[in-house]
């Protein structure tokens, strides 16, 4: 097991290296730059700026300089926000996005399994049909439709909730409700469908029949035998779900004006703020890789049939 963890951990390094290299050259090779703004700067000033940020050097040299800095956890200065480093920008925004993401995923997991279990136990009754219709709706409607429609109904028409903002504003925790619902919808729906499916399958399996035949109470069978076996596919799904929630939060942060890394990412991509985009990509990749890593290990702990070589 520990050997597997070490090996799995070491395989992360080349992946991360390739991602950083790829995005570095992808961004640099594109036409336009952070300083090709609305007004043309005099050539001397332009040259000075380029020298200051080492952008007059050959691309390969810039690449090695950047990699060296990244290894020391220095993501460089922002080209647009002159008084802030990328570390500052991301450091401020990161907790916001993580909070939003984990709360959305947590809610999706909790509600999803509850709804899934209910409809599996009430299979082909009205509760089941109602829950599964809601689930298909959740999968079919994209976040950028759910978000604005929620906003239209609950913030603009009924005026129950604030339209946008994040914790610090007057409305406090109320600002969290709509972003979390918008972000969790597809994952909630998917988890509900998945847990229902796998629960039904497990309930028909031999070991559950054995447990029933032993004379165990139905509630004990469900709790001790069915649930444990049925939760496996959901654990595997958590990896993709987490990465989906991260990209999904780009749109949700845009709609509800939340100061997270998703918003910074879109803004810096539009501004061609090279270092900020790079920093964001690195942070996102680390989150993704870490999520998959944790899921792999969890999977092994939950399913004794899986052995790590």
């Amino acid at each position: 097991m520990s050997r597997f963890i070490v090996r799995r951990f070491l395989s992360v390094i080349p992946t991360l290296f390739i991602i950083v290299t790829l995005s570095f050259f992808l961004i640099r090779l594109a036409p336009g730059g952070p300083f090709s703004g609305e007004k043309k700067l005099p050539p001397e000033i332009m040259a000075n700026i380029m020298r200051k940020y080492h952008m007059d050097e050959p691309l390969v040299k810039q690449y090695f300089r950047y990699m060296g800095d990244v290894l020391q956890f220095d993501l460089g200065p922002s080209y647009r926000y002159k008084d802030q480093t990328v570390n500052d920008l991301i450091g401020n925004a990161f907790p916001v996005s993580v909070m939003l993401g984990t709360m959305a995923l947590g809610t999706a997991l909790l509600l999803g399994t509850i709804v899934g279990i209910t409809s599996a136990l009430k299979q082909n009754k009205w509760q089941d049909y109602a829950a599964m219709s809601v689930a298909v709706l959740g999968i079919s409607v994209p976040a950028f439709v759910v978000g604005p429609i929620l906003m239209l109904i609950f913030a603009l028409k009924l005026k129950w909730l604030p339209t946008s903002g994040w914790l610090s504003s007057r409305a406090g925790a109320l600002t969290l409700i709509m972003p979390i619902i918008t972000l969790m919808m597809p994952y909630f729906a998917y988890i509900a469908r998945m847990s229902r499916g796998s629960l039904i399958e497990v309930m028909r399996s031999d070991y559950v029949r054995t447990a029933r035949a032993k004379g165990l109470k139905e509630s004990v069978v469900i709790r001790k035998h069915v649930l444990k076996g049925a939760m496996l596919p959901i654990v595997t799904y958590l990896g993709p779900a987490f990465s989906g929630i991260i990209t999904g939060s780009v749109v949700v942060e845009q709609i509800f004006v939340i100061p997270g890394i998703g918003r910074i990412f879109v803004q810096s991509a539009l501004n061609r703020d090279y270092t900020v985009i790079m920093g964001d990509v690195i942070v996102y990749s680390i989150i993704l890789i870490a999520a998959n890593f944790v899921v792999d290990i969890l999977y092994g702990l939950l399913d004794p049939r899986i052995s790590y070589k």
């Binding site: 992946t15 390739i18 991602i19 995005s23 992808l26 961004i27 594109a30 036409p31 336009g32 298909v136 709706l137 999968i139 079919s140 409607v141 994209p142 976040a143 950028f144 439709v145 604005p148 429609i149 906003m151 239209l152 603009l156 469908r193 998945m194 229902r196 499916g197 796998s198 399958e201 990465s243 991260i246 990209t247 780009v250 749109v251 845009q254 709609i255 990412f265 879109v266 991509a269 539009l270 061609r272 985009i277 964001d280 990509v281 996102y284 990749s285 993704l288 890789i289 998959n292």
Partner: protein, 361 residues
């Protein structure tokens, strides 16, 4: 055991009754037809296809034509001139009330402007054919017909879905069957590459690519490629798995013993047997292509004006949703209905083509 009667070439069952031989596809079709939601989904998808791709032949209004007198008209079955006039007169009454109530002289100017517009509109309303138009789904902020815009937006969204699905299926089938059939280092190489691509935050890469494009370039084309490039992963894995499980089966051995080459085995024996699962995954991916494209368009990184996709329309609708909710609701609802239908159809196809599927949920 069913056996073939040599004389009339018809199959009989163990009770010596004649039975029509049922192919896998006919069987699947029968199962699909029994699934009411899937059939409904299929009809909705078919209607969308006919309307969006036949739009040029059907009597819809232009989706680019702007009419300043018809800006932001609500959905209505009345002629546009009447709706616009009614709205102007309402506004006039409001203004007059405001002026008499609070004595605001600064509104006088607005009042005279509106009175002039009313006079102009009254003169035109019976003569000019453009005021006879009916906007059943309202108009947008430039006085363009929402119905036509939603239909043409659907055209682009569905096209992107189709092209993306086809490209993803192509790449996925080729790489998946190569890896699965050849095994060894080829399989390893493709497998590593797929793993790497999976750990890439791919929507972010697409966002970078789209935002780096010089303005005015043909962004739809790049969008097709960008979305297709990252979407073949799942299909290739599925195809690979299917091929590996089939390549040691008896019928492949039989083909090989008869002298069939690798190409023939792959294309005549292995792929047709994987077709069901390829169709399932393609149908289930189709809506996600549309969602991804709209997601980018919503961020302003997708399809550029004058073209519009559903995503562009939704993001335009968000701008004035408090006063003109139909501008958001019309494209949002049309898109949702289509995605809904696609998902039901995909689920139905999965149940029909792969009845023993482990992934039924």
């Amino acid at each position: 055991m069913p056996s073939i009667d040599k004389n009339n070439d018809r199959a009989t069952n163990e009770f010596n009754q004649y039975v029509k031989p049922v192919s896998l596809w006919a069987d699947a079709w029968k199962r699909l037809r029994r699934n009411k939601m899937a059939v409904l989904g299929m009809w909705i998808v078919a209607i969308y296809m006919v309307v969006t791709f036949g739009a040029a032949l059907l009597p819809f209004k232009s989706y680019t034509e702007q009419e300043m007198l018809h800006i932001n008209l609500p959905p209505s079955f009345k002629p546009a001139g009447v709706v616009a006039l009614g709205r102007l007169e309402e506004r006039k009454v409001e203004l007059e009330a405001a002026i008499t109530r609070s004595g605001r002289a600064d509104l006088k100017q607005d009042l005279t402007r509106i009175e002039n517009e009313i006079i102009q509109l009254k003169g035109e309303v019976d003569t000019d054919p453009k005021h006879k138009r009916v906007y059943i789904l309202g108009t947008d902020y430039l006085g363009r017909d929402m119905l036509a815009r939603t239909i043409y937006g659907g055209q682009i969204s569905i096209m992107i879905g189709l092209i993306g699905t086809l490209t993803a299926a192509m790449i996925g089938i080729v790489l998946g069957s190569l890896g699965g059939y050849l095994g060894g280092w080829v399989d390893n190489l493709i497998g590593r590459f797929v793993d790497l691509m999976y750990s890439l935050p791919y929507m972010l890469v697409v966002i970078i690519i789209m935002s780096m494009l010089p303005t005015g370039s043909n962004s739809i084309f790049v969008l097709y490629i960008a979305i297709a490039m990252i979407s073949w992963l799942t299909i290739s894995r599925v195809v690979r798995g299917q091929i590996i499980s089939l390549k040691n089966s008896e019928f492949v051995e039989a083909a090989r013993s008869m002298g069939a080459g690798s190409g023939r085995i792959i294309f005549r024996h292995l792929l047709p047997n994987s077709l069901g699962i390829i169709i399932i995954y393609s149908t289930l991916q189709f809506p996600s292509f549309i969602m991804n494209e709209s997601f980018l368009s919503f961020l302003g990184l997708g399809v550029s004006a004058p073209r519009a996709s559903w995503g562009t329309l939704v993001s335009e609708g968000v701008q004035g949703m408090q006063l003109y909710p139909w501008r958001l609701l019309v494209p949002a609802v049309s898109m949702t209905v289509f995605l809904f239908a696609m998902n039901f159809l995909g689920d139905g196809l999965r149940d029909a083509l792969d009845p023993q599927s482990k992934n039924r949920n």
